[in-house]
């Protein structure tokens, strides 16, 4: 096959055919098991509290705990955080918490509160584990709670939801460069597929550029949590926030570069969810970027 059939260019992007090309598996090695589906809109909760970060950007755990409880109840429709957790996981599950360790890492306070919430819901202490790492981490869990930090990424465009499982591939470098479009396939690996019960994006203090290392000029207090069960929907909302923040910072369009091809591929090629989203917006309403 000629190379112009196996790679995407700026011209595809401008023509608006990038998504179609990604879905059709134009990217070399994108796999052959396309499963485009027509899905109803997914619900994503965006909950913010301007007091979540205190002076010096220190997390106020009391405020964050309240935010987490309300987020869980909104996502699940349950009346308490305990019931919400029990609607997502079983008492017999081994629940893996998957925070982001690098480049704008997930706040430890959020990880701790989620662990505490699961224990309070009755999950035995030994069955709530940290599960970021290689494939064996995912294999040892029956349920996963993904906890990525919200950030742009210089190699993949966005480095939030889909990229959070890159270590589960056992070969993270296989998903660098042009192959980042394949990040969605990791979610379909046998030791990963179907285990993700909830995604909570740490959007307390996101990074909208530039990478590859954190630059505090591009971080701001969004003071929010973004949650849902559909990885494509949650990533779509996350991407929208990053994109709008970039435009607001420069006062002109400032597209993410490279374009985040992995999001369209996750939807159209790997069938992980839908970019059709209904957002439940709760709390602090200043500059929601939604």
């Amino acid at each position: 096959m000629n190379e112009h059939h196996t790679c995407l260019t700026r011209r595809d992007f401008v023509r608006g055919t990038l998504g179609a090309a990604v879905g059709a598996g134009t990217i070399a090695g994108a796999g052959a098991s396309g499963q485009q589906r027509s899905l109803p809109a997914s619900r994503v909760t965006v909950l913010r509290d301007q007091n979540a970060l205190a002076a010096g950007n220190k997390v106020d755990s009391v405020v964050l705990k309240r935010m987490l409880a309300e987020t869980l109840q909104t996502v699940t429709g349950e009346k308490s955080a305990r019931n919400a957790w029990l609607s997502l996981v079983k008492l017999s599950d081994v629940v893996g918490l998957v925070p982001t360790p690098h480049l704008n890492p997930t706040h430890q306070e959020l990880v701790d509160l989620i662990r505490e919430g699961l224990l309070e819901a009755g999950i035995p202490r030994g069955r709530v584990v940290l599960a970021q790492g290689g494939p064996e981490k995912a294999k040892s869990c029956t349920a996963l709670i993904s906890l990525p930090g919200l950030k742009a990424h210089w190699l993949t465009g966005i480095g939030t939801v889909l990229k959070n499982y890159i270590m589960y591939s056992g070969s993270p470098s296989s998903y660098h460069d042009e192959n980042n479009v394949k990040l969605g396939e990791i979610w379909n690996l046998p030791h990963v597929k179907g285990k993700t019960r909830l995604i909570i994006v740490d959007a307390l203090r996101p990074l909208c550029d530039k990478g590859p290392q954190p630059d505090p000029r591009y971080m701001w207090n969004y003071s929010g949590l973004i949650a849902g069960t559909d990885p494509v929907a949650v990533e779509t909302v996350s991407l929208g926030i990053i994109t709008r923040k970039r435009q607001a910072l420069r006062g002109e369009p400032w597209p993410i570069s490279p374009p985040p091809l992995c999001v369209a591929a996750a939807e159209q090629r790997y069938g992980l969810g839908t970019s059709r989203v209904h957002v439940d917006q709760i709390g602090w309403a200043l500059d929601p970027l939604l």
Partner: protein, 316 residues
Amino acid sequence: MNRAAETAVVDLPRTLGVWTRSEEIRRILPDKIFDYMDGAGELYLGYRFKYLEVAEYSAPGEDQILVELYRMDSSDDAFGLLSGDWGGEPVETDKTRMKNGGPAWFPGHRALYGAGLLRIWSDNLYARVMAYRESAQSKEAVLRLGRVITGGRKSAPAPALVRALPEETGAAFRLRTDRFCYFRSNLVLNSVYFLSTKNILDLDRSAEAVTASYPPAPTSVGGRSIQLVLIRYADEKTARNALAHFERVYLPEKRISAPKTSSGSEGFWHIEDGWMGCARSGRVLALVFECPDRTAAVELVSDSIKRLNGLEARHE
């Protein structure tokens, strides 16, 4: 990671006001860069990176200050790392005022500070000094560390390829002096201006390139910016093959190579986002994208090639 106090790039002070440096200065070689910074290492490997030294300063009641000293193969590589983002407050270290060889439009910034992070280009050294939490005290310490890092080091000129950038094209488009990036890697190009998911310009560390943005001049009536990419390859054959590769993938329906000129080839096409053009002369290549008309594309490509040929003639 090795201890390397005796051969440290910079003699970092043990104490600085209330801050005390960790005893160990870690040295990280290219083969361990991913252990230190995960995929971020691709950026430094995309330039000619030799090693990194890392030190941390701590103080009671303050968050840490991280010092990263990237020893590069050349001043051009260190410049390239700074050029990825010209934002921030220009800092007057003892070298920052020096334009050192021009060109006239070049602001001459060698260190930029913003929100706790100081980024420095000092000869073949690129440095990041970051206070995890900005305060008046931490800013003072970060800037003092900047002066220590640049002290006694020579002040190298900007890369020759950057000095070749035209300041304007016609009267209608002017170079944005805070939007140009010097690079060698396809990954860096795509992070600034996405062209393709593959390396269709055959870039590698033997090549050098610069991309720059030319918005309409204030006197013009709106419109989009033109994007210029200049590349100098190791030799003419590599440049010729790279242009052929680019045309094959980026302009597949054209099914023609750019017409030959006396020293290379050039061509201009109208595509989805405006006029684009490219020209090769010997081992140098100029490409323009998003031009409003053919004339603008021809002008910027021609002027760029003329300037690049000048560099080659002067062996710069």
